[in-house]
Point group: C2
Amino acid sequence: MAKQATKYFTICPWQIAEDHFDPDRNRVAESVFSLANEYMGARGYLDEGTTAPTLRGNYFNGIYEYDEERGGEYLGVVKHSHYMVNSVDFFAMELRVDGVMFDQAKAQISEYRRVLDMKSGVLSRNLVWERDGKRVELGFERFLDMEYPNRAYQRVTVCSDRDADVELVFKTNFDVLHWGQPAHWRQVAIDRKNAGIVCRTQTTSQLVASVSHVAANCKGRWYLSFGDRLACNTLRIRLDAGRKFVADRLIVNAVMKRGGNADELLRFASDELAKQVAEGYDCACKRNRDYWKKFWSRSDIQIDGDEADQQGIRFCIFQLQQTYHGADPTDNVGAKGLTGEAYSGHAFWDSETYCLPYYLFNNPAAAKYLLAYRYNTLQQAKKRARELDCVGACYPVATLNGDEACTLWQHASLQLQPTTGVAYGIAHYVNVCKDRAFLVDQGCEMLVEICRFLASRGQWDSANRYFGYYAVMGPDEFQMMVNHNTYTNFMAKQTFLYTLRAVRSLSDSEYNALAAKTGLTPDELDNFERCADKMLILYDNDTKLFEQHRGYFELPHIDIDSIPSEQFPLYSHWSYDRIYRNDMIKQPDVLMFMFLYSSQFTAEQKFANYKFYEPRCIHESSLSPSVHSILASELGLSRQATDFFGFATRLDLDDYNRNTCEGLHLTSIAAAWMNIVYGFGGLRSDGELLVLNPALPPQWTRLCFRLTYCGSELTVELTQDRLKLLSTDKIRLVLYGKEVEVCNELTVAR
Amino acid sequence: MAKQATKYFTICPWQIAEDHFDPDRNRVAESVFSLANEYMGARGYLDEGTTAPTLRGNYFNGIYEYDEERGGEYLGVVKHSHYMVNSVDFFAMELRVDGVMFDQAKAQISEYRRVLDMKSGVLSRNLVWERDGKRVELGFERFLDMEYPNRAYQRVTVCSDRDADVELVFKTNFDVLHWGQPAHWRQVAIDRKNAGIVCRTQTTSQLVASVSHVAANCKGRWYLSFGDRLACNTLRIRLDAGRKFVADRLIVNAVMKRGGNADELLRFASDELAKQVAEGYDCACKRNRDYWKKFWSRSDIQIDGDEADQQGIRFCIFQLQQTYHGADPTDNVGAKGLTGEAYSGHAFWDSETYCLPYYLFNNPAAAKYLLAYRYNTLQQAKKRARELDCVGACYPVATLNGDEACTLWQHASLQLQPTTGVAYGIAHYVNVCKDRAFLVDQGCEMLVEICRFLASRGQWDSANRYFGYYAVMGPDEFQMMVNHNTYTNFMAKQTFLYTLRAVRSLSDSEYNALAAKTGLTPDELDNFERCADKMLILYDNDTKLFEQHRGYFELPHIDIDSIPSEQFPLYSHWSYDRIYRNDMIKQPDVLMFMFLYSSQFTAEQKFANYKFYEPRCIHESSLSPSVHSILASELGLSRQATDFFGFATRLDLDDYNRNTCEGLHLTSIAAAWMNIVYGFGGLRSDGELLVLNPALPPQWTRLCFRLTYCGSELTVELTQDRLKLLSTDKIRLVLYGKEVEVCNELTVAR
């Protein structure tokens, strides 16, 4: 099933541009033009509103509502979910010229261009509105402050070739829709001076304040008015022909995640607004550009030879940084980031498995904060384990606040990879960043609780010969309720083993502190060891194949190429149960653990399993192709590596999955980064030393990426005839199978 | 986990009696004192209302509402369920003496006795209300007409030892609750002459009319008034000391299941009421007693030696007859009959598997109607198969109108035993009742469609060696989503084989008619044969054990005796997933098919499997113990046969499951009949000839039951020293392993 690209945006290395307006692509463009700064996010909707299809979305990290409680009768099934709620529409406005409201979907426009500039983080839109022989040039610009996360900026310019009456209404609107339904914000305070409103969520009593100040370069009449959860700052001017009118709105949004005093929040917001006004739009914009410049100098990936890939990977990196950069340890990376309501803003196991590597090698502090998020929600994971009649800590399949939010028991009760994923993340972080203090202070406690859960959820077979997991679903969600899923068993085994090593590496006083905190006993450690030792790993030494789960090999075979392409996605075309009764897989369980613990497997094993499982995988998960591409690279299957890479960087830009309109695939974006660095760069980070096996794909002339590693910066530059490594400090690593030390520069001819 | 009996009702062979009133047992008593006549049912609530806990329920067979549609995103998952709705409260009334309303829960009462008389079908209640030194004798009596199913009867008597003012308000009330919520009946017509109301259901536009006439033996003042969905017939009299006041309300209820004209329905009801009034209460009561007398002469089971069992089995037979006797081929047997709202009035696979045998040997016409119900809903079963991406006919797990009503996909999509159950029912019916015409006219068409479904739902293993079912749940709902459940595979195989035999037994013209109706081709029959031939039946010839499903034998073992009794029922105490990951079973899949196809298995096989599976079964299904008891009888394990029989006949009378308050376990009641006739009577009906192996349990001195078989009546009378068979015609059967012919009488000393 070849995916179909929709080529809509202009290819350009540092910009995403739209040079005409297509109302039918408006929701996709809104997603792609999303801005965020981890604290808040705004979809790229048209400031002035539109009659085109639109999803006006503004979100704050950690601001959410509870769903209605459902009347489930079974224990351990989540009844009370929660979701990131659409919040204040702070870029809202209306624009009228000579009394006619501007609607880009209906107006006659020309010279249209909308650009997201990834060097500056600015989204701008310029066009000419032609009406009654009058040419009105309009400009809209916005950006979010990456350093002062409360601050947002909006600029509107108007210039007419004849005199014109211009009316601008800058709106702060909490009366918004969430999934098409009223979002139920409750107004609790207003600020007449700063067009400010404070609203409260309905079920969580969180507070969000929005205040703003408008500065214009023309005198006119000003009105400030308030409606229900709405503040309007209206400006009417008579604009002389040829004169350029510029209005800047400086906005401060502020939240209190745990609720609190609305007046206090307003005071904070207006203080912040005063500072913002003092700095002004242009200075802030320059400062923000400097932020991005510094960022790109550290985290850019350069690809020569394919501008679409170059644009694509920069878009990925840009959006990752916007979404999460470790500003707050209570934030996480939602599957759609802050770009839409789909997936309810929830974070999944993707955070540790797909996103963490990017941060490990670009922003170790952010990587640590991702794990701190799990430490901060350890109590909720312990509560969840008890709900499942287990002990220890069970991390949620989907969450925003740390509680399990997935109401489908078949996922929330059967999928253990979120929990083993946290353990894997801890191990990976400690291995790459050498942060022993984290391991001692927080890591071991999480690991012990995770092992407790794994020991209590696992079971011994009828004859007490081996240990493993019954009634589980691995990451491959097309094999729903199976026994001895090898991914689950293998990851649990690694978790036990790593925990035992970690605990045994503690000093006496560290161990005693851990024991005091967790009640850990030597008997428990013995039990963990027994579980690891007797863990059933289904492996056939003759074929070198791991069996995905007990009985998988005898499942009815389906030739996935025989499935008509119009039947995808299968969930929309096949009866639910039908998906689960054949050997088709959604994403590659076995290949996944062979990649995560790459150093434990031989090339022969990898090859055998790749050859077996690849033809059975339909990649209905957007994370799947990258794993295949990475392994294909390693196995020298460069054609397949390139094919699977195909849409990794441009999944959203070219709307391959037909659902970018709902928001960006943020965690797939992270997988695209892995695809380049682990795939073509051949990075492996599960061993003692970093491993690099760079291999430039034939369609590129040059690839250059940079890794932050143990305080050094390692630059990897690869052309078809040579590899150059640059390091700011000495780094030992395994290059093409040989241990080398990089000091300043190392060049290898190819 | 021994079940605990609550001994509440008086033991008496022909009556269920309560000799004091316990408000806390009121809801249980309401269930036990339920009256029904297949057309309608009324729980045994107190006519005059009560402040005690109560579930006032009145139901009509086939009168239902649709649930709100749920937003499920997966295909094949039922979104729109339906439920039998609580309907007109036609025995409602108020009683005041000297202006004080009678409330049995609060009044000072004596000489209390409530009796359900199974010889007459009359429920009566007599008591003395003592107040202010006055003794007021009250009597309440009701019954439902078994011959004229629209008719209901209510009698109230009052006698005071001093002069008294008496007020009776007879109410017809549609403003009722369903599961504690308003039932949303809509009034569409009234009949001022007969205190009549017609109401319509909200979602199905069905009509229910209730009209009534009150006749009293004293003159007084009468008022007829109407409120919202309420008609009140008020009667006020001055009652002289010692005079017995008698008021009879004659009621006609009538429904239009497919909606229609309310006035037409009212006309029918008032015509019927006129006939009922002409006959009068006493004559109708006598006629009803004659009905029951005739019924008992044919269907009674006599047990000497244990009056509790005697009472229990009569209660079972009485309630079965009340619930269903084949009055209408669009009726079925709900799991709770017409005695409560639990299970939504739905019928399950129990109808063919547990209820059908009773009818086969007592009321063959009703047995045929049970199967006609499936024929009448064949189109819906075909639609359901298509929803599951299959062809042919898939019968619902739970239904009232023929549509699948179970919204839990894990049951509705994975359980195939309703479908194989229908095929089994057809085969069983044809085998016992020799009704070839039914097989030709309706049976074969159903069988072909069922086989089509089974052929399309089943799959071949990866190597194309064997056929079977993947992702299924057998009747044992504690093994949720498994492959090659042996019950499913075995029953499907039998279905294919029987269908092939049936189709091949057709004459050319019959076959051509079938092919024309169904499009059946020889290729299809070949395919059915291949599926049957290669069906995987997991069997170990060394141990003689059938494996319940692929992998069952290696599942973690749990010692069910180690589970604390307070953890039952497990669904209320265990995390949902925990139930599904060990070798504990809820009901005995393997033993079940070995019982249904008894003649195909040796005693050695039965013994081995009984010994293996019995200790793993927790009998969380109320149908399970009877199957164990029957097999234990066959295997000569008389102690276990007796133990498992323990509560079969008195499940509801002694409230073993603690939920009789919600309604009677009608299908368990049917299993109790099987327990006696198939268990102690040793009847088997799956072979060419009937098999009998009667063995009187030690605690009884005599057992006598009667079977209707091929137009004859066969009486089986068993004492400790002899077996006597009486037959009205010649019957050939296998008695204690030897073929015999019973003609008039056959006595065997023991």
